[in-house]
């Protein structure tokens, strides 16, 4: 019997993130979204926070730790970082935090582009199944899911979460 939780609308999850991000601790940060889901969320946050400074985007394809197993992933858009992330407070944004491997890859890539003063991690959803000691600093929803259940962000227009059942990705 499945006790699959209901995922609220993206709009509601976003509103809760915006509330937290208006706090002083995040006012100096530059938003960097992990492609593709995290990048879509960054675009939404920029608009809602009224930010005009350019955000960053990260494509982790070249930093994945499962390259030897699953190979090069189809194009997701490339990395675009602001002029310099040296000494910057980077607010790393993803849609869903699960194993933590994507975040590790993204941090490796960030450090190849400079030396941030601080990295904070935010996401709409954090689920169980961590494989690394990586946790979101802010997230709108924490859920517990069966190992074969996955939440996937569809987008960019409109943004909506979909719950799918599948085994771990294989090529």
């Amino acid at each position: 019997m499945s006790n699959t939780p209901k995922i609220p609308a993206v709009e509601i999850l976003l509103a809760s993130l915006v509330d937290e991000l208006t706090a002083d601790a995040y006012s100096d940060g530059v938003l960097v979204g992990i492609r593709r889901g995290g990048a879509w969320i960054v675009d939404e946050l920029q608009a809602r926070l009224g930010r005009t400074d350019p955000p960053g985007y990260i494509d982790i394809s070249f930093y994945r730790d499962d390259f030897a197993m699953v190979g090069l992933q189809p194009e997701v858009g490339g990395s675009e970082l602001p002029v310099s992330i040296d000494d910057a407070h980077v607010i790393l944004v993803d849609d869903v935090i699960h194993t933590g491997r994507t975040i590790r890859a993204a941090m490796n890539e960030l450090f190849d582009s400079g030396r941030p003063k601080k990295i904070s991690l935010i996401s709409l959803i954090e689920r169980d199944g961590h494989e690394l000691p990586i946790r979101a600093d802010i997230c709108s929803l924490r859920v517990s899911l069966a190992p074969n259940e996955h939440v996937k962000l569809l987008g960019p227009e409109p943004l909506a979460f979909e719950l799918v059942k599948r085994n771990r990705e294989k090529k």
């Binding site: 070249f62 197993m69 190979g71 194009e75 582009s113 090529k171």
Partner: protein, 328 residues
Amino acid sequence: MSSSGLRDSHVQLNEDGSLRHFLTIDGLSQSLLTEIMENAERFIDFGQRKIKKAPLLRGYTIVNLFFEPSTRTRTTFEIAAKRLSADVINLNAQRSSTSKGETLLDTARNLQAMHADMLIVRDSHAGAAHLIATHLNDQLQVVNAGDGRHAHPTQAMLDMFTIRQYKPDFSKLAVAIVGDVLHSRVARSQIQALGILGVPDIRVIGPNTLIPTDVESLGVTAHTSMETGLDNVDVVIMLRLQRERMIGQLIASEQEYFKTWGLTQERFASTNKNAIVMHPGPINRGLEISSSMADSPNSLILPQVTNGIAIRMSVLSMVMSGVEGVKE
């Protein structure tokens, strides 16, 4: 085994159609060639990054096994592999045990015994890379960096990639390949790639002695005059005169050759507006191409070299892609 037998294109592909080795353009699909170029696009900015490296091939050992001299190809393969964090060994095979009589396959097997994951092979014999790929198919990946007169697939792909940056619609192009087509593995691979990508008008231009007699069976038209051959083309690819491969008297003299077949500003004037000029290098100024033409704004000879790194990063990563998934 299928009736088409042991064509390179079968050896070099996995069952799912992805690249297992990269030996020849012949038999590859348009979508695969496009995928190579699209992946290269992702690597093009790497040269501008603070740390010009990604960890994609970290822990893999790649051997540059070159039995013929090379500067550009060997160096750009090395840079490509290092930007992907692989360990690279350069073997100048003219000075190694092959000169003591070891066969090509034995050399390859020894490198495999040292746990090399990939060999990048250049050899004066056609089929050298194919031979290694066939015999060591399960143990390592092989990339052809030029085999005799047969194929030079990464050069052809970097040329296609360069053309695409300036002339994105292959279906509207007229391309002329000029000079020593007979000895050119580059020309052969280029003709195949241009055909697969849908270029409707492919021409070769040169003296009869340097144009293969069966060249029109490859889907090209042969011209023995620069004036008619260059008329309204969009891309001019000059080839190096490969005197080291010539047996007998194939050209009258160098001065005579330049006078008839050299690319000059005057001759270039009959091409289409904004036509581009390419050359795989090394260029012989005043032999195949005039200095002013080689240095003109239409010349893409140096961008070709830069693009060679991105294309080779793309090919190396595609060949190593999912390699452990395949071995399982």
